[in-house]
Symmetry: C2
Subunit: 318 residues, 2 copies
């Protein structure tokens, strides 16, 4: 067992200093110097053991820490926001709590360093329950420049930033938040609306359309299918196609963007800042109406069942 003082001292010592912090972690609160003339973007995601991850050989605490920050950075990317800072609250099981806590911290710190995130503090607790990690990320964006869900317009083309499906095979623990891609796109293209694919390509696209008060026609032949989706479809007893996995699995953390047609085509041709499996693909078009449709070769539209990670009261938002 570690004493509180030792544990917190070790945690604080492991947090690198950052010029954006006027008062670093360890006081009652952290004080940040916000970048002048920009808006503050804020998002929070809570991950729970047994729901969002199962600790084990394939999922060490470092992976939990990494994912807990990554899903928040993905939300910032979906707003075209630059990551600035994060705070972390954890509930650690008493057993092996210090090992878990340090592992989580290492996973968070590594991704924070990679994406320029200042770690600004946290709240460490222990209890007799399962592991819970809640990260709040702060970003910044120029006034009026944040991408929203509700800005899609009729005629816009939908672009996804990478292949989807099968993330449960392990990719959901190695999320590549599309922050750099978002920055490159925001700098040079006119984006009307955006969302990140946390709960499923079709579900999150449907959410963007519902917010915008419009419908989308997807070109099913164009949906980029991840190799993991293909692999999952071949597993004994899976019973779903690779395309179904791509449309419904979720935790891909790619972005879906709505852009005017010429901007979308230019984006796909120029494909700026591609890395880590990113590939920009036009997957459909925004139309009048509500819901999602599949376009057929003969130009007809068939209603598409929206699939994704939905269950009662399990509600990722903001």
């Amino acid at each position: 067992m570690t004493s509180e003082a030792e544990f917190v001292a070790a945690l604080l010592a492991s947090i690198p200093s950052d010029p954006r912090l006027e008062v670093p972690a360890g006081d009652d609160a952290a004080v940040l110097r916000p970048p002048a003339g920009r808006r503050t973007v804020v998002t929070v995601d809570m991950l729970m053991e047994g729901v969002d991850f199962i600790l084990g050989h394939d999922c060490p605490p470092e992976a939990v820490g990494r994912k807990s920050l990554a899903v928040n950075l993905s939300d910032l990317a979906a707003m075209a926001a630059r990551p600035e800072a994060a705070v972390v609250a954890v509930a650690l099981p008493r057993q092996h709590g210090d090992t878990l806590g340090h592992g989580i911290q290492r996973g968070i710190a590594a991704l924070a360093a990679e994406f320029g995130v200042a770690l600004a503090g946290g709240d460490t607790n222990s209890w007799d329950g399962p592991l819970v990690v809640s990260v709040t990320a702060l970003g910044s964006v120029a006034p009026g420049a944040a991408w929203r869900r509700d800005g899609a317009k009729v005629g816009d083309l939908l672009v996804v930033t990478g292949p989807c499906g099968g993330s449960l095979l392990g990719r959901h623990l190695a999320v590549r938040p599309r922050c750099r891609e978002a920055a490159a796109i925001a700098a040079a293209y006119r984006v009307h609306a955006a969302i990140d694919v946390s709960d499923g390509l079709s579900l999150d696209t449907a959410r963007m359309m519902a917010s915008s008060g419009l419908a989308a026609v997807l070109d099913l032949a164009a949906i980029p299918i991840h190799a993991d989706a293909v692999r999952m479809a071949t597993l004994p007893g899976d019973g779903r196609s690779a395309l179904e996995h791509a449309l419904g699995d979720g935790e891909d953390f790619e972005l879906v963007l709505a852009l005017p047609p010429d901007e979308a085509r230019r984006l796909v041709v120029e494909s700026p800042s591609l890395a880590d499996g990113a590939a920009f693909t036009i997957i459909g078009e925004v139309v009048e109406g509500a819901g999602l449709f599949a376009g057929t070769a003969t130009g007809e539209r068939v209603p598409l069942e929206v699939r994704g990670f939905i269950h009662a009261l399990d509600t990722p938002n903001a």
Copy 2:
């Protein structure tokens, strides 16, 4: 059972709009207009069922929601920061999850309205575990104006903003964060250091002294003892004095401030912005050395045992 869409829609509908929000809750992240020329102050606290509260007749979900925001506002007060916004992440037990969720939201919204906090979004989840609520609060403060723990100077007097002890009798669920008192003090007095009493008057004072690299001599006769501390000391089998409760119970959420002697005396005489049981009292003096001491009538110093809410890996910080 409530569907995700219904639950989130109801939650979002209950959140009042705020001019500080350029993009309100419900998108991938919220976008805030930070006040010009000020720093951003950020703090997070996670409350867990069975550790920080026990749901029941005396503790409805509204009280949990209220407390989860109040403890964060207390941290902002301890930095002399003005509350601006908050985000909330919850893990709801599946049983009665929607009732719990709405109750928590009501408790948070009521306190947010009272203290001018813009609710900027959240993350709602359900699971088979106990209730967990994590609130992240954002505040603002002028550059260089945040109160820190490490600024106490030899000769400073220590002032506490109200009586301590016995909060477990119910006061810990009706926290009055000292935001208004902090604003009034920051506007007119020179404060060298501050901390809020979350884990015990003696423990938190000792933390401030440790951060400042100094010691404190407390005048035990001057410690303001809450009526609840007196009441607890009379409970059968309690075995502690009212003073011990005042020094060690914690969850008082009063502020301890270190000020130059003349400033401290002026503060106590003028006592600005007092409300809700606040009363400014000089309780001791900052001296060279380390640790806490009790001053005797003959001017001697006796080492004081630091008491408070400490257990292995239970580490409130930031």
